[in-house]
């Protein structure tokens, strides 16, 4: 209930405080307790109801980690390196993602591919997920849809090395079920004369 009053433009502010005994706090306390109690009771019975298969919406809290929330496929979580139809990596190691990355968390080592139509490919692609800020600039910079950000959002690990995602983790982790196929297909592009 304090009010701030400007006394003078150049002098200090004087704070006018309420005098003792001018207000009753007890009604406020009871109002707050009623709200807390109502919510508690509702959540308690909703939870029991949800155990019986009632509607979920009533109870927004999930019992993590037994229950896990599924984000939409458009959620920008952990990175995925896409693959070609034959299962090889789509990435051409152009390093535009590494150039665009504001957190400097992508490190790529490029090499010469034995197939001259592929020419360049990454022999190492690492993302330091602890440095990553999930901004999505890598996805935006990629000219061939080789890197995407997927709906996985849990990144637990016990030591530092588990946060250094390598090629195997990014492209072929079990959750991806053999890899996600990129929308850019080299053969189709060649046929179209590009």
């Amino acid at each position: 209930m304090s009010t701030v009053q400007a006394v003078d433009k150049n002098s200090t502010y004087k704070v006018k405080r309420p005098e003792a005994g001018s207000n009753w706090f007890l009604p406020g306390i009871f109002l707050g307790l009623t709200l807390t109690g109502t919510k508690m009771l509702r959540n308690l019975f909703d939870y029991v109801k949800s155990m019986g298969g009632a509607k979920r919406e009533l109870m927004p809290t999930v019992n993590y980690p037994e229950e896990k929330y599924e984000y939409s496929p458009r959620f920008k979580g952990n990175h995925v390196l896409t693959v070609k139809k034959d299962g090889a990596l789509r990435c051409t190691a152009c390093m535009l993602c590494a150039t665009n990355c504001p957190a400097d968390c992508i490190s790529i080592v490029a090499s010469e591919h034995e197939d001259p139509t592929v020419e360049k490919f990454p022999i190492s692609y690492e993302i330091d997920i602890l440095r990553c800020v999930f901004c999505g600039f890598c996805e935006e910079a990629c000219p061939v849809d080789a890197i995407r950000m997927g709906p996985e959002w849990q990144t637990p690990g016990i030591n530092g090395s588990e946060f250094q995602y390598d090629l195997k983790q990014l492209a072929y982790r079990p959750a991806l079920k053999g890899g996600i196929v990129s929308v850019v297909d080299e053969e189709e592009r060649h046929k179209a004369g590009i």
Binding site: T92, A93, C94, M95, L96, T99, N100, C101, P102, D104, A110, S111, E112, P116, T117, E119, K120, F137, P143, V144, A192, G193, I194
Partner: protein, 528 residues
């Protein structure tokens, strides 16, 4: 290019409304180039003959109804030339469209991206979709032209710079253009390899990514590298070069124009001299082996200890020098040995006495040291004249007990390294100061001290080339942090502390360690 000799009459012309003066008989594009006015061009190169095939250097000449190419039109007094008119811009735009008909525009996997003439012009004039309905012509990709150059015919715009280079500079004429029309391709006759000693220059002059260097290919994107000028220490020519580096080390060198030394070019051997400066080839630790006990320590610590043992030892100490260090370093170490140690037993290790005077007529010299002249100069100034044989003799008789060796910097250029190690390790005590690592040196037993030195990219210095030209270089980057230059080593030998010189007023601060501003691209997002 910029020196105007007085006996050639000068011609005044107007370029984009600006009055400029050029030599009589020069072309319009030279007037642009000498006055640093932008003009689109691919086939013209200041060091090569005129071909006039790219049709991009179009200019409008007042009084001339049609546009002309600037590279093949001679200037006349009072000529008014413009390359900024709408007519010229339109011509360049359509010229570019023709270049891009069969160009794959695969910039993301092209090594030239970031320093590509076609990419620059495309961003400046084009940025439009191709007007061609037909599919692009497929040509050969990843063709090994020779041991150092890879060709991608699809990216080639047939400017013929590489062909003219091989015809005119090394005069070996390996390259040619085969077939006609849109099936024309650069290649070597009968598939013979491009093996001349200057072949990598064609990679530098290629305005697109058609010719790429086998050595540099895919190792770094060029925008991750910073560059700084230095000189090549591969031979006594002392070509001016730019070293491209990042925090991991040096990745390549490219020639820088200097009419007095190397013109526009450099040799292939010089392109490899960046390799020995990188960390994996360097001596990192200072090591002291004495009485069967090995101690590793900081180089500064070892230098201080060595100084205490060397002082006042007189003629029982001999110093061996190679031609790889700078004049300042020679002066420091020779004066230390003459005045503080009290010996004039200073020897010049000549690595290739048989070929020292040879010259291939272009750039490569047989003296594979950057500063032999400088060393001879400093030795003569200090009144030192010695023969190598007297060193081996006095080691044999025991007159010389301690041998101090400074160098060589690039051990690959010293074919007698092994012989010299076994020769000099006969001395009772051996102090070897070098930049590169060497397994034989490290496996030596007995009284041995190994002190890591800086290479030419890490220290300032003056180098005197074969013609007596003094070239001063500045440090490029820092690779082995603890390594010492000979000047610093001598300071520590004397018991002085190394103190960084404070930056004087008006002096440019040293830019070592100042890498790429990270994410300059992100910061300028949306700004064109």
């Amino acid at each position: 290019m910029h020196s105007s000799t007085t006996n050639v009459p000068m011609v005044k012309i107007q370029v984009n409304g600006q009055e400029v003066e050029v030599k009589e008989g020069s072309t319009i594009i030279e007037a642009f180039y000498q006055n640093k006015i932008d003009i689109a061009h691919y086939c013209w190169h200041p060091g090569l003959s005129v071909a006039g095939v790219c049709r991009l250097c179009m200019v409008e000449i007042e009084g001339n109804p049609r546009l002309q190419i600037a590279c093949n039109t001679t200037v006349t007094p009072g000529m008014r030339v413009s390359n900024v008119s709408e007519k010229v811009k339109d011509a360049v735009k359509w010229g570019l469209d023709f270049h891009l008909i069969n160009h794959p525009l695969d910039c993301p996997i092209c090594d030239q991206a970031g320093e590509c003439g076609l990419q620059d012009q495309y961003m400046k004039y084009g940025r439009n979709d191709s007007k061609m309905g037909e599919a692009k012509v497929k040509k050969h990709k990843v063709v090994d032209l020779g041991p150092r150059v890879v060709l991608d015919s699809e990216r080639c715009i047939l400017c013929s710079r590489c062909v003219r280079f091989c015809d005119e500079v090394p005069k070996t004429s390996e390259l040619g253009i085969f077939n006609r029309g849109d099936r024309a391709e650069v290649g070597t006759f009968d598939g013979k390899p491009l093996t001349n000693k200057y072949s990598t220059n064609v990679v530098d002059i290629c305005p697109v990514g058609a010719l790429t260097s086998r050595d540099f290919r895919f190792r770094q994107r060029v925008w991750f590298l910073k560059d700084k000028e230095t000189i090549c220490t591969g031979c006594s020519t002392g070509c001016n070069v730019k070293a491209y580096y990042n925090k991991e080390g040096v990745f390549r060198v490219k020639p820088v124009y200097n009419a007095a030394v190397n013109g526009h070019w450099m040799c292939d051997d010089g392109r490899d001299i960046y390799k020995f400066v990188n960390r994996e080839n360097r001596l990192i630790d200072a090591k002291l082996v004495s009485g069967g006990k090995t101690e590793h320590m900081q180089p500064m610590e070892l230098a201080k200890r060595l100084g205490a043992t060397l002082k006042g030892q007189g003629a029982s100490v001999a110093l061996v020098l190679t031609g790889s260090h700078s004049v300042e370093e020679y002066e420091a170490i020779v004066s230390y040995f003459k005045n503080d140690v009290g010996t004039t037993q200073i020897y010049h290790w000549i690595n290739n006495p048989d070929t020292i005077d040879s010259f291939d007529g272009i750039l490569i010299r047989g003296d594979k040291n950057p500063n032999t002249k400088g060393l001879i100069e400093v030795l003569a100034k200090n009144g030192v004249s010695t023969q190598w044989k007297s060193l081996t003799d006095s080691i044999g008789t025991g007159a010389v007990k301690t041998v101090v060796v400074a160098g060589p910097e690039n051990q690959a250029l010293f074919p007698d390294m092994k012989v010299k190690i076994s020769e000099l390790s006969k001395a009772a005590k051996l102090v070897w100061m070098t930049a590169g690592k060497n397994s034989e040196l490290e496996s030596l037993t007995g009284d041995v001290a190994l002190l890591p030195l800086k290479t030419y990219v890490e220290k300032p210095g003056t180098f005197v080339n074969h013609a007596g030209l003094r070239q001063k270089t500045q440090p490029v980057t820092s690779i082995v942090p603890g390594a010492l230059s000979l000047v610093e080593a001598v300071q520590l030998f004397r018991g002085e502390e190394l103190v960084a010189k404070p930056v004087q007023e008006g002096e440019k601060p040293n830019e070592i360690g100042k890498g790429r501003v990270h994410n300059e691209f992100t910061l300028t997002r949306g700004v064109w």
